[in-house]
Symmetry: C3
Subunit: 278 residues, 3 copies
């Protein structure tokens, strides 16, 4: 049976780039099921590409092949790789940190460097700027369709040699739960932290309790207020802030039917700290 092929990039869907990748994949095998994760990763934002892979991969069947192309180093010496995850999925991507989240959660059990002598679109010419089409979509489609095995991607690599972005760990200190704003739930402006739900169990926070929430940017306080820990948005009034458990079982902060990120001009990354206290 054919495996699904799932494509992600920072190309947007307003021009022909994604369709060229679809065409390359469809040309490899007309029976292939091709899906788009998102093509709206902010340009060059490897962190967000890594996060979105982690956010979605476990909901796809074992054996599904992901292609992720956020590739500011295209044309440099950065390697092109294919990996097999601990969860039995495959990812084809430049080796630039795109696997940061997946390596920590699912693990990488095998890695191979793409051999472009065999795994590059024939006649892909003198362009050095679109490996998403010429190398990644092509190789991903060939792997998903069974035209090549994982071994035929290219020579074996040590999974520990793969690039990783720096990561800041959440912690419990003096009864406070500390973490960072990992990413936004873009559409709704909710803040998703890197703090697992279980940390609240450890300090004994129950649904319905009121918490002090502080947010700091480069150690400067930008928000300090109290809010309820709710099971869902329905536990609050419209316009009220709340702490909740998001769809990845991490803690998140929101305004019911408003945008927390816009309201307080909050962004994401390791210089955006968040603290919860009973």
């Amino acid at each position: 049976m054919l495996r699904a092929l799932v494509l992600q990039s920072d190309f947007g869907i307003s021009d022909g780039a994604v369709s060229a990748m679809h065409g390359v994949a469809n040309s490899v095998d007309q029976q292939l099921s091709i899906y788009d994760l998102t093509h709206d990763i902010p340009p060059y934002n490897i962190w967000e590409g890594s996060y979105r892979l982690w956010q979605t991969m476990s909901y796809w069947k074992e054996g599904t092949v992901f292609v992720s192309v956020v590739d500011p180093g295209v044309g440099s010496t950065r390697r092109s790789i294919g990996v097999q995850t601990g969860s039995g999925h495959y990812i084809i991507t430049p080796d630039n940190g795109t696997l940061t989240h997946i390596k920590r959660t699912e693990g990488i059990v095998a890695a191979r460097e793409i051999d472009e002598r065999t795994n590059r679109l024939p006649r892909s010419g003198e362009s050095y700027t679109f490996h998403g089409r010429d190398v990644y979509a092509y190789t991903g489609a060939r792997l998903a369709s069974g035209a090549i095995t994982f071994k035929e991607v290219g020579p074996e690599l040590d999974p520990d040699s793969l690039e990783q972005l720096p990561v800041k760990e959440p912690e419990i200190r003096n009864g406070k739960v500390l973490g960072i704003i990992d990413i936004l739930d873009i559409r709704f402006g909710n803040l998703w932290t890197n703090i697992p739900r279980d940390f609240f169990n450890q300090i004994g926070v129950q649904y319905g309790e009121t918490l002090k929430v502080r947010i700091l940017h480069n150690s400067q306080e930008v928000y300090h207020n109290s809010m309820t820990f709710g099971r869902s948005f329905a536990d609050t009034h419209k316009g009220e802030p709340l702490v909740y458990v998001n769809s990845l079982d991490n803690l998140a902060v929101a305004i019911n039917q408003g945008s927390f990120a816009k309201a307080y001009n909050i962004r994401t990354g390791s210089n955006w700290d968040v603290q919860f206290e009973k």
Copy 2:
């Protein structure tokens, strides 16, 4: 034969939410054909979700399964339902008014409350905030693939018990045709009214005639001018306004190659009245 599965939401396509739903559906059955209606319903806008279902459903084959998730009440006591329409389509959705248009046009012939003991993604954990993935996409995919019958969605409901949004009816009064701006043809800024084309037949308006058009917001006049009733945009000059019959056989107002909505700052809803007079 497998039925198509068509997904709609207000999640946007910039993060991983839609792909997680695709993955859940694909995991149910790899042969399933999955389509997206739109995921760009404005956040929490149930009315627009209801309208888009009506706008598209009849162009899909009988038996197609729609999943629509505009769900401001996720985690509350609002019911999760599956319905069969008079046209032979299926819709899986929260019971919050999403079926307002379909109930009036196609009718609801059977309704069932989703039984989450069987129709919920296994291992979907402690999150109470993403029923789109854990309940609706999962149940829709199982129905579309034949893994469950419509009866197996859950216990039967009275279709008349389903939530409905308030609706304002168009009418003919003193030779004037009265209605509201139901929705925008977003990309082109055209105003789509709730007035069927047939009302012009009743007051004897022919293509090529000039009409007086008034638009009122909360009873305040915001537009008053004359324009032609044209068969299509090609009947007017660039920049000229016109009344025409839209792709749903309702009356609409536009500027040829311009945006009427932007030009006069016009929005939609039952407090946006429109009047046509010969």
Copy 3:
């Protein structure tokens, strides 16, 4: 075997228009593979529609059927056509210049006018404004599925009778390479010219050399500076401008990890000249 169907339009994906086209195509044949090229062509921009077809078509398998609907003249006397290209692809479109690039590159080997007596969605009513759904998606799906042959699209036309947009040719004059800004690489703000890479071979420009670059809008200079001809972005520092060969083997101008188009407020078309000199 079924051919893929690839849809393009200026409809956007925020309302139900594209899904109505998907539904019409899926209703013709449930086994059909339906893809979207892009639906984000700027409204009425036939030139960009023509360009995106050219940018992607050769990456799709021979026999693939494209439907392109940028149709400011809907409802006028403009013809609806189906063509076969020199590369063995099919395109269904209004005859308004959408085939300008393809005719020059792949050539049109056969053309037919769509006979709406047979090739129009049954029951498509009194609307004269949505041929994308009622004529083009329907006919494209029927051709892709084999329900009709290319001959059955309708009566034969002379390919030389098809509408063409005016085109400005690149040239070499006094050692300068002259062309226009054909289009933007939207997401990244790169300028794509109409000048083939080979012109640099003719005047002897090598990778790594520094070039003078001038950009003029309506003959007024808007940019004049020197930059490197790089194999890829990796050959420059962040924020540095460069000339490179794009994924269509044409010359392009960019700022590494910045937007050239935004930085200098540059747009596209035959009144945007670009000059390269050693």
